[in-house]
Each structure stands twice: as structure tokens, then as C-alpha cells.
Symmetry: D2
Subunit: 342 residues, 4 copies
């Protein structure tokens, strides 16, 4: 199945192609030189041609089927709870999977009832699944058969905080104020994504605790300690992009933050340390994460800005990056596109 | 000059009408029942009819003149540094003034070189000028001849924090993450307000210290203590509105925040304690400030959301509210409009 | 019931307050000095306080009831087909009505099955109902007990074409290319109003014939002749506003269009002949219609631009204007607000 | 210089890289497999690294120089009038050029003073230059050393009308109502591209005759006849995209339009006949033109919708398509990207 060696293209499929993560996967995979997109599934749209539902994907000649068929590798873009049993079945049949849902992100099965309201149907796989953030788990991902693709907010947050946590330079209280474009809320209809309601508006939500907090806490704990994290997501009137503004107290005199970050991410193809506060627009359609660390010397706090495209590095792009690692391909294959600006 | 008693309308003027705060004043004053807008000044537009530059103001039949003329009361919408001497001159001639610029907001003249890069030309007036936040300084405003209208960010922040500070329930470290629509950056051209650059984008700015921090610190200190404030403003792709998300540690067990806020603002016509996280859209075109306090019980922090229209409660509306107080009028006169939604 | 003479406020109600036309009526009526909003009805929201569903309307202390109660005057903001019988019942009970739906706009009952898919339940009222465009039917409206409020597109189109048709200067083929903000599609959820689908997008729709074409044809015929009208509406990514660009061949040498239009609309409070191509932004929240006629001398065609706020002059504002006429009030009462710019 | 045969990459340069067409060229060329971007020039930004001005282009390691250097092939993204002499010089030195400006689009030198306000400095090249619309001039482009890249509006319009004109089925009066995103107005600052002015707004402009009308007329005349064209461009609040709505009278009974269009464009890689009215969003970042022809049977008119990304098929993408032809490369090289949706 290692396409790098044989030249034969791995057959891949997308489960639930009709959401925004699903069609973004289709866009990226349609031009991927080392895999072949052979099957896409959907529920309400089953039976239609992909190009009839999404005319811009006319170059992909596939019907939407109820289940993915004849694949060696699958991406699940199902909603949480629905994904877990489907993914478990695929793994049981020897298909490698990147699950874009949250269903294999948390290692502790007991957290699922608390955060997601269901009992996990395949807890035995939680220990095996690898959290798909290549910058932290590259080696484990390459060896995995099941990778849990991180949430969009956590991707921006964990990449923004990892160098500080590893260096041990910040104290225990972290504030994360994230601003997301509306596509993060998905393609399902709701008043909260109705154009006239969200255009020209900003609001905070999930003040009681957003589900992504559970994986943020899990991954930050990896560096030792258990920082108390306050996380408030906001919806702002744009389609794509997340900017997370992260505040933390410095333990001692400010280190050379730029050097710290450049060192930590020096060989990373998809993380760039910005010289100025980054614009989410500079990530539009690309797999880049732009990070800018700064010190508020008046108060002894560090402020980190972390920007991604929520549908690429925050979802489909990172999923392809994980697939590349799992298939022994060059990690950047099919992800070289520069952001579409302006 | 007290129009409430005589029935005679006070003659008012707007200095530098051609910026967004200036034209917003013209909009509000054009329908104000107790004052008469008799003069508007501008620089590059001097000589033109107001309605030729701003066709939607066709109902106001005034020429733009180099200086305001024959007024009893003036609003200065000049840029900082330019406003100070003009305002001092008007005060010297017995004209009451609301200065929308920052030039009389800081009581300590030494702060002007540091934050605004100029030496204040009329420091003797700084002690007399009243900071124009009616919810805190109503009585002083009513007696003042010079009122310094607060900045847009500080209005949202100070109103959001005042009940907590007065009650003495929060610790010393406050994080303020503000999101502003683009009109806050004014009508002057810059790449940072060029449509294709800011549309579909969010970015932070002024990480070295935004000028509004100086007045935020001054006013928070009024409640005793000197909280260490980190303030990071962001520009988001909408025209009007500011949402400030404020984070602070609780000293002890969480008080009944809703009761605390309702009590503090119980008679205020322009502050409403929201039952849900507020939308800036619900303030569009109105003088309301919507505040929502919440506790993050996992971490013992309070999170306060404060939403305003930056051009109304954050500028022109608050200026009219101050004028009403200074003229002995009912505070809400001319400001009764409900937000324009959606 | 004539409030102008008695000083007693007419009691008014809004049927189906929860759509965008309904809440816009509530906004306008809440500040109307001569009527009292006493009742608002809704279906799914019945039983809730108006301010709980729409927090920005907190100043209106009303519960949403299944039916409007104890009113002398009613606005129906029901969907077409549902409105007709309710309105007929109100008229039967002596309540004057402005119907914002399409149910009494067409004089020929036979058009309802064709354009709206239902047989009209009260055809006897179609002859009595007055088409509520005050600029054309002021006198009839003042005497009516039932006024059919025009559609948003027809308002912009008919006002744009009336002077040309009355003067008899254009030929028989008219092209109307209209651009509407998304609020025109209402508050009901659909993929076509889902933020991420319509943001950063423009598309045409209803190429087989938009329902508003029926009333456009009916009203243009009033001037004699039956111009062949091609009407293509477009949705563009903004919340409010319609710009109609109207193209027609000139019969002879171009007349002085500006004089023609200024003469036709010389005493109209809500129509302004613009000196430059108008911006919909200059009508935001106001009841103004801005019209700009121009000649394409290369081809002998006239191009007319007509801009309104679709929810004000295109719906709720015009409805209040009609109510004012029906109640013998000054026509501009409660509608004096200047546009909210920028 | 034919890279298809030698495997050696052609060295290409971009003149005036700092406008939106220039940076879009840089984006596309940076991933083009058969050419090497070796030089980029700019004026005010000369001396800076490209990545310092445009951080998202960090993968391109080039300095901005006053002139392009050591290139075999050049793109000029200079403003009109400035481009003509520079391009003439390059041609004189044996460098093939695609000129994105208007300076070589018009074959008749006498039109330049009239439409562009300058006398053409190299009229001898006007006869040689090929209008760079591959769907009409593929063969001539392949043989050319100078290609004049079409304007954004004309691209959408000419592709929309060509099948009708070739078939001779429409009459002499054509109406073109185009809607463009704001990036079409460029990166230079102006009040007309200031965010708060154009957001939530639509307006028409250039009613006296937009410059693009000259090339539209020139190219339509190619099919015989001289249709009288009325062209009204509009700016709508989005960054990218043009939708042209084209109206024309049918000479006789309506032909099978879909068949006519599918036949005309049957082998075209970058034109797709849509099954539904197209969305500009479905072209975002891609080189596709989506066309939808329809008949208004009530009036005997044809309505054609034509959608492109103004910066790709309307500028930089089409320029690369032309370059591919001029270099003997596969026409789609480097242009395979699917639109970025949503």
C-alpha cells in the first residue's frame, strides 16, 4: 500500500463528502498525485453525481454512494458519534482511516459521555488512535492505522502554545480567545449560520465549555502540568479562517520568543513564524499555520497569535498531511498550494 | 442656554464633520428635537454643501465651512493633537464643548507625549475636563463646560468592568480582547482599511500598546488598585460594532454576577444586561451597550462580554448623551432609536 | 379613528412579527408618535416575550400571541396564501389592514393560480384593495380600508420607470436587472441563505419568471401600453438593499431626463433624484428611494438606477407610510430617520 | 525556448508584481512545473523581499527589483500607458510578453487617445499583438511574441456572447450588466475601495462608457455586424468574481441554446456550460468560466450568465494560459486547481 515505493496509486474514499470538510478533502485529493479518489459517500445526496451537487467539482467523475467502496484508505467526515462505529468497522477490515470527527481524539473513554453525550462504542481503539497533529506526533502517525484528526480550534491553539509549554516558561493560567469564520459551523442550516443574522455581527458562544476544550486540555497536559485553560470561541463574519489569541503569564524574564518558536518549528513545512501579526487571509486555501509570539512587557504576559484556514490545516489539509505520513509519502504532497490572496 | 427651560433651541456645530464620527453626529443631531445644527466645518471639503459630499444627509441644508460659526455648543471630531488648541479656544469664548478626540481624556499631561507624541498645549484644562462616560460621571458632566468623550474601546471595556471593580471581587490581572469593525479605523485611506485587504480577514494590531490603554488604565484606577491590563484590539470584517471579551480572575467564590450587574446599571437607559452572549448587530445604529457577565467555574475566572456600536455609544451617540446632560435635557433625547436589525 | 384630530393613539398590531418585515415594522412602530403597538402575533414563537426572541426590541413590552388582539389597524406580514383569509377576516371585522404579502396586489384573481399556485379565497376584495405605492396612488390609499403593500423589487422598479412611462418616451422593451441583499429572502432557513454559501458570491435566480414580475407588469400597464419586460433578480452578499438597473430604448431624441424626473417627484418626501449613481448604503434603514436616470447616447437607450432599503421602502417603511395616509396622519410621521451610514 | 521539448525551464518575470494581478501571477507561477519565476519588479517596493511585502508568498525567494532581469518571458502588470513602452522594449530585445494592461488590446491606434487619454507610443506593434482569448485566438496566440491579455469584464462578456454571434441568432441590441468584486478596482487606495464605503453596498459606475467597452465592441465585431452594446458595470461587496448578465433579442424562434453552447465550447478546458445559474463562488481561485444561457420566452430574449474569477480567468490565470500556448506547453499546465469553496 506504500505508494512511494510502488508507483501504484492508493485508492482512497471520503465518507460523508457533502459537508464542508468532505468537499474540501475532495478538492485536495482530486489533484493529489499519489492517491486516487475512487469513492465518496453521502446520506441525503446518495445517488446523485458529485458534480451535480457541487458543480465546481465537475472534474471529479464520481457518484455519491451510501457507503464508500473498494478503498484502501478512508477519511471519515461524519458527525461525531456517527463516525465511531463506521471507522471501527473499516479498521477491522484493514482499511487505514483518518477520522475528521472527534470520535477518536480523546484517549479517555470516560470523557465522551461528558463532552459529547454518548458512550464510546469502540473504546479499545482509543488507545491505538494517534492524535493527528504531525508537528507533535509525526512518528506515531506514520506508524498508525487510525489517526484522529484534530479539531480546528485545537490545531491553532496547540501549535501556538507548544513551544512555550515545552520550554516551561509560562505559568498555569492560559486564556484562549478564538475567532472563527462561519464555515466552522458546517453546512447544516441553523439560525446561527443564516446570512442576515451573522453578517455584520460578532458574538461569543459556548461559554459553558466548548467541546474542543477537552482535546486542548488533553494535549497541553502532554507537556506536564495541567494549565487552567479558559477558552472562548467567537464567530465573525467571514467564511474561512481562525485566529486564536492566546494569553499566558510568563514565569520569569521574557525569553527570546522568536528564537524559541523558530527553533521549535525550524523544519516544519506548514508552520511559519510571522514577523508581524498574521492575517487569516494569508492562509486562505492553504495548509499553513502562521504564528506570532509577543511579550506584553507592561504586565509580564505572553500573547501568541495563531492563524489557520479552518477547513485546510484545521480539517481537510491536515487530514491529507496525516494520510501522506501514513502512506510513506512526502508529507507536503498535494498540499503545496500558496494561499489565495486577496 | 438651558433649552429645557426656555424652549429655544441651542445652536450646535460639528468641527470636522467629514469623518465617520462627524457624519454620525450630523445624523443624530439632524433629528434632535431640542438643538439646532447650524454649522459644520471641514478642511478639504470646505466650500461644498454637506449634501453634495454625503447625499444621504440631503435633509441638512448646510455648507461645510472652514470653521464652525455662531454656535453655543460644539463637538470636535478633529484628530488628536489638532483638537486640543481649537477646543481650548472655544472654551475661552464661552462655548461648551464635547471633544470626541483623545485630547482631554487623560488627566495627567505627562501622558500625552508618551502615548500621543505631543506636548499638551492646554494642560490647565485637563483638570477641568470631565471624562464623558455618563454611567460613571453623570453629575460632573452635567456641570461641565468641557467633556472628553471616551474612546470606543474604553467605553465597552470600562462599562464591562466597572461593576466588578466597584464590588472588589476580581484580582489584579485583566485580559481584554476586543474585536472592532473597520469603521473604527476612520475614513482616511490606508491599506489596512482597503476592502480587498480586510474583507474575509481578521488580525490583531497594536500589540505594543494601543493608545486607548492609557484611558482604560486611568479609569479603572478610579476604583482603587491598579490592575495589570493586557489589551489586544482586533479588526474584523464588518463596518460597525465592538465586542470586548474581558477575562479576570475571581478573588473568591463567584458572586451572583447577574444581580451585581443589574444592580449597578439598574437605572441606566443605555446599558442592558443581556440574557445571552450579545450580538454587536443588536446595537447597530443605537446607543445601547449590551453586557453579559459569566463565570468560568472550571478556572475561577469571570468572562464579561460587552457590545456597542463603535460610532454611536462609542463616539457620536455618547457625545449627544453628554450634550444632553450638559444642556439640562433629558439624557435620552434624540437617542431613542432602536437598533437596525438585521 | 383619525388620530390626527383626536390625539388618541390608534391601536395597531403586527401579524407574524417574527420575520424580517415583521420586526422591521416593530422597530418603526415602536417610535411612532401617533399610534400604539399593542399586539404582535407569531406562530412558532407564540407565548414568548418579543424581547426574548429579539433582544434589541427590549423597549417593546409585548408577548407574542397566536393572533393579534384588540387592534384598530393591522399589518399582515404573513407569507402569501396564508395572509389572504386572515386579512379578509380582519376587514370583515372593521379593522383596516396593510397587507405586506402579495395576496391583494394583483387585481386579476386569475393570476393567483398562475403565479402563486393557489386560488384566491376572497376575490371580491381584490377590486377594492389599493396597490400601496403612495407616489402613484396617494389619494386612493387615503380612502382605503385595505392596502396591498408592494413587493420590494416592484417598488424600486415602478418608481424608476413611472416618469418615463408617463412621458411616453420609451419603447416597448424593458430590461430590469435587480440586485438584492440577502434579507430579501427572509428569515426562514435555506441553503440559499446559508452564510458560507452566499458570502463572497453573486448569482441570478428565477430566470423562468419571478413572481414580482406579475405586479410589475400590472402597474406598468397602468400608463398605457404593455411593455415586454425581462426581469432578472440577483442575490449579492449584503444584508439590506436593492439596486435595480433598468434599461429601455428611447423613442426619440433624449429628453432632459433629470428635469423629467425632478418634475415627476418634486413634492415626494421619499424619492430623491440623485446627482450621481446612487449607493444602496445611502438608504440603509431609511424610507428613501434614490433614482438616477442617464442616457447611453451611443445606443439611444436610457439607463435608470433605483436604490432602496428592501426592508424599509421595500416593505415595512412603505407599510407605515401607507398607514399614515390611511389614518390621516402626516405621511412622513415616524419615517424621518436618516440612513445609517457607513 | 520551447520548454516542452527541452525540459529546461523558461525563465519568466513579472513587471509590477505588487498589484493584485501581479501577485496572482506570482501565486500561479510559483507552482508552475515548466517555468521558473526568476525576477519580479516593482516601483515603491523595489529593494524589499517579495515575502516581506506579501508574507503568504514566503516560498518565493526573490527580491523586488526596479526592472525585471534575465528573463526569456515577461508578464507586464503595469497600469495602462506605462506598460506600452516597457513592453515594446522587451519585444525589441527578443523577450516574449503577455501584457495584462490594456495597451495592446485595441488594434486601432486612434482609439487610445479617445478611451485611454494617450497617444500610443508603438502603433506598429498593435497589428502584431494578438488578443489573448484562447477560446477565440488559440492558434494566433501560439505563434505570437506579444499577447494582449483581455480585460476582466470583456473576458466574461465575449465568452458569453461568442456562440450566439457566431450562430447569428441575435439581433443588434445587447445589454450587458456586470457585477464585479472589489479587487477588480486594484490595490491602489481610493474612497471607492475603502472598506466602510463599499461593504454592504452596491453601486453602478462608468455610465458614460467604461473603457472595457472599446475591446468588447472590437471583439464582437469580429463575428460580423456591429451590435449596439450598452455596458453597465457594478461593484458589489465581495473580493473576487465577476458575473455578467447579458441580454439580447432573438432573431427567430429560440434555438437549442444548451446544445449551441456545448458545441461551441466542447473541447475547451476552461469553459463549462452550467446546468443552473452559476455562482461566482464556484470559480474562486480557478481559471474556469461558467456560462448559462437561457431564453425568456415571454419576450423573445436570450439571457446569458457568465461567471469568472476576475483575477484568474479575468487576469493572471488567462495570462498563464496564454504563456502556455506561446511556449508550446499543454494549455492547462499550472492551472488545474479546482475552485476554493465555500
Amino acid at each position: 500500500m506504500n505508494t512511494a515505493n510502488t508507483g501504484k496509486k492508493t485508492k482512497v474514499g471520503i465518507i460523508n463528502v457533502t459537508g464542508y470538510a468532505g468537499v474540501e478533502l475532495a478538492r485536495l485529493l482530486s489533484r493529489h498525485p499519489a492517491v486516487e479518489l475512487v469513492s465518496v459517500s453521502g446520506r441525503s445526496a446518495a445517488g446523485q453525481r458529485l458534480a451535480d451537487v457541487f458543480p465546481y467539482l465537475a472534474s471529479i467523475d464520481l457518484a455519491i454512494t451510501p457507503e464508500v467502496e473498494s478503498v484502501d484508505f478512508a477519511f471519515s467526515a461524519l458527525p461525531h458519534k456517527e463516525s465511531a462505529p463506521i471507522v471501527a468497522g473499516l479498521i477491522g477490515r484493514g482499511v487505514k482511516v483518518v477520522d475528521i470527527s472527534a470520535d477518536y481524539r480523546l484517549r479517555d473513554a470516560a470523557l465522551y459521555p461528558q463532552w459529547y453525550g454518548f458512550t464510546h462504542p469502540a473504546p479499545e481503539l482509543l488507545g491505538e488512535a494517534v492524535y493527528g497533529l504531525p508537528e507533535l506526533y509525526r512518528k506515531e502517525i506514520a506508524a498508525a492505522r487510525l489517526v484522529a484528526n484534530p479539531g480546528c480550534y485545537p490545531t491553532s491553539v496547540i501549535l501556538g502554545l507548544a513551544p512555550l509549554l515545552k520550554a516551561g516558561v509560562i505559568g498555569d493560567h492560559v486564556i484562549i480567545d478564538s475567532k472563527s469564520g462561519i464555515s466552522g459551523a458546517g453546512r447544516s442550516l441553523s439560525l446561527g449560520t443564516h446570512y442576515s443574522e451573522v453578517n455584520e455581527d460578532v458574538t461569543a458562544y459556548a461559554l459553558k465549555g466548548h467541546r474542543h476544550l477537552s482535546e486542548i486540555e488533553q494535549e497541553l497536559a502532554r507537556f506536564g502540568g495541567r494549565p487552567a485553560v479558559t477558552f472562548v470561541p467567537h464567530l465573525i463574519p467571514m467564511t474561512r479562517g481562525i485566529l486564536s489569541t492566546i494569553y499566558a503569564p510568563l514565569k520569569a524574564a521574557a525569553p527570546d520568543l522568536e528564537a524559541l518558536y523558530r527553533d521549535f518549528y525550524q523544519d516544519e513545512p506548514f508552520v511559519r513564524i510571522a514577523k508581524e501579526p498574521p492575517h487569516t487571509k494569508h492562509t486562505w486555501g492553504s495548509n499553513m499555520c502562521l504564528i506570532y509570539p509577543a511579550v506584553d512587557s507592561r504586565t509580564g504576559r505572553v500573547v501568541v497569535l495563531s492563524a489557520i484556514d479552518n477547513l485546510v490545516k484545521g480539517a481537510a489539509g491536515q487530514a491529507v498531511q496525516n494520510m501522506n505520513l501514513m502512506l510513506g509519502l512526502a508529507e507536503t504532497t498535494g498540499l503545496e498550494a500558496v494561499a489565495v490572496y486577496p
